[in-house]
Amino acid sequence: MLAFSAFAIGLLFGGGLLLAGMANPAKVRGFLDLAGNWDPSLALVMAGAIAVAFVGFKFAKRMPSSLLHALMQLPGKRQIDKRLLVGSLAFGTGWGLAGFCPGPAFVALGGGSMKALIFTLAMLAGFAIHWGIERK
């Protein structure tokens, strides 16, 4: 049941990315190009997503377990450290370079893009590098 709902939610999430224009790297880079012809669309993606998710998390925070009886696993981390900052800098640099972040990369890969496949394989290698260094 948890896998079924995760698949349906992944499908919805992917549809949201496609409709929003997030699965189009040229559009993402148009948003990141403040000094050129700036496309503000992605600010509205963020605003719409955060506003709706805010309501959902307001309820989720008060629930000891999920509606499908899974443990409620919301992050409790608060510290702002070097890992958060350096990791975010590296991520943002890669995001700006290709116009892909993880979700849209999977969606574009599902659409059959060869370039998305190359990006996704490199991203998975990045996950593996982190895991290789940090696993205990």
Partner: protein
């Protein structure tokens, strides 16, 4: 700065964003998990066997979305300007960076901000600034 009115898609972007919000809320309410794609996919490494199914299913949903989309209408525009070496470097940076940061655009940018997390706000401002700087350098200084 000039606003790119021809490519600005306020309604589809706002609606698409709201769908992302609905999906993030549903994953929390139904599965008790954060809809952070780097965490869901990267967390497959070292996950216990019972914790893998939902992760793979969610990624399967993302992969299936464009297939489902084309059953009802034409595939939306997607243009990737980056070269192959750029895609490889960018992919590695995104993979390693998001895991050290503990989240990406979805985990920190959407879910974290919606939970009013200060840590996620710092992460989001940092990766946005790096994204703005990278596009500025590659388009306006390096002249691509």
């Amino acid at each position: 700065m000039a606003i790119d009115w021809t490519n600005f898609t306020p309604w589809s972007s706002l609606t698409g964003g709201m769908l992302l919000g609905v999906a993030a809320a549903m994953l929390a309410l139904l599965n008790g998990r954060i809809a952070g794609i780097s965490g869901i996919a990267g967390g497959l490494l070292g996950a216990k066997s019972g914790d893998k199914g939902w992760r793979l299913a969610f990624i399967g949903g993302l992969l299936a979305a464009p297939v489902a989309w084309t059953l009802f209408s034409a595939a939306p525009a997607s243009k990737i300007d980056a070269t192959i070496p750029e895609l490889i470097i960018a992919g590695l940076l995104v993979g390693v960076g998001t895991r050290y940061a503990g989240g990406c655009t979805s985990g920190h940018g959407v879910c974290g901000l919606a939970r009013l997390s200060g840590r996620s706000l710092v992460a989001t401002l940092t990766f946005m600034a790096a994204g703005f700087a990278t596009v500025f350098i590659s388009r306006h200084l390096a002249g691509q």
